[in-house]
Symmetry: D2
Subunit: 114 residues, 4 copies
């Protein structure tokens, strides 16, 4: 508990049972959560193989760059899954909850400089 | 054996012990190899924590997107380390070896669509 | 006329006077339209100066790359203005109109491979 | 002359006749200079059409985003032309001039955060 991570901020009091946006309790759609996890596990395996590659003194720079590019593509794919789920479940419905301003601000923050 | 592909270059013949790059035996500078590996291990740890995050039904999309963006930044940082080592050790010296055409072609292939 | 494509949306029938988007008549918020135009005009001026730069036989590659990077940043900034206006005016309100599926699909298409 | 731009820095004293890197006098290969200019003129025409598009109150956000993405692709393409010319003419030959450190540093600066 020494270091507070983003994951810590996600902790929900289960007895509360109500998920409001201002308390960060909008939840990810289960389908996109599972699909994103699956993709990230594949990306992690790929990343592991680059780390192994780098233990070999004969590793060649351009091969490493190519593999890194592939992993970045996989992460971008996982990001698209998460983004689509978010747009469908939370952004498209913002006006019905009345939290449009916060929803748009936090999403634009993620897009900044990308 | 005249032209090696990316896939070929990833395959190391263990009995041979020497990994060749289009027959030039260009190896990654040890310093950039070790620094890139260190950065990728950190990125892998971060990726692990996103996978764990996604096991929590209360995970919030925007938190996941933020973490993914951080990991992508870490991979980009590792890529910069590898690229700098490659430019210094292999590209800047290409004219002294006479393999400019291959060196530039394979590097441009990595940059394509980026 | 049930499904309009991107190409259709760019064509305005002048006699009709109304530009329809998948029959919802969604228009860009005036403020983001004007601010995006202003930014793009600045980017265009910058792009003009790169074209002029390239007429000089003494132009240096890295200076051109730096200027291109600046213009790309300006276009990204204009894109952020347009995206924010779109999220606020059209995406956050989608559930109140009932066109969530189309709104999300067309937005994800823009994000793809980015 | 009130504002010093990157283009100003390119000014070469014609009587000098020697182009050294430290004085920013490495010149762009003519072919890549002309091809990059051609591509940028096309991108500028495309950018013009987006500015015109934005004068229409019926402009639709996603159409603008799509067009911006196309222009950014065109700029990236021009950047690839410039980069390839630079790698061939200046980076691959750096060791023969002895300016590897500067050549790599300035190129890495362009790649940073990209």
């Amino acid at each position: 508990m020494a270091k507070t991570t983003a994951a810590d901020q996600l902790t929900v009091l289960p007895e509360q049972g109500i998920h409001s946006h201002t308390d960060h309790h909008l939840c990810m759609p289960e389908d996109s959560r599972k699909r994103a996890a699956r993709r990230l596990k594949i990306a992690r395996g790929h990343l592991d193989s680059i780390v192994t590659m780098l233990e070999n003194p004969d590793a060649y720079c351009v091969d490493v760059l190519r593999q890194l590019k592939a992993v970045q593509g996989a992460l971008a794919g996982a990001g698209e899954v998460v983004l689509r789920g978010h747009l469908e479940a939370h952004v498209a419905t913002a006006a019905t909850r009345g939290d449009e301003a916060e929803i748009v601000d936090e999403l634009m923050e993620v897009f900044k400089y990308v």
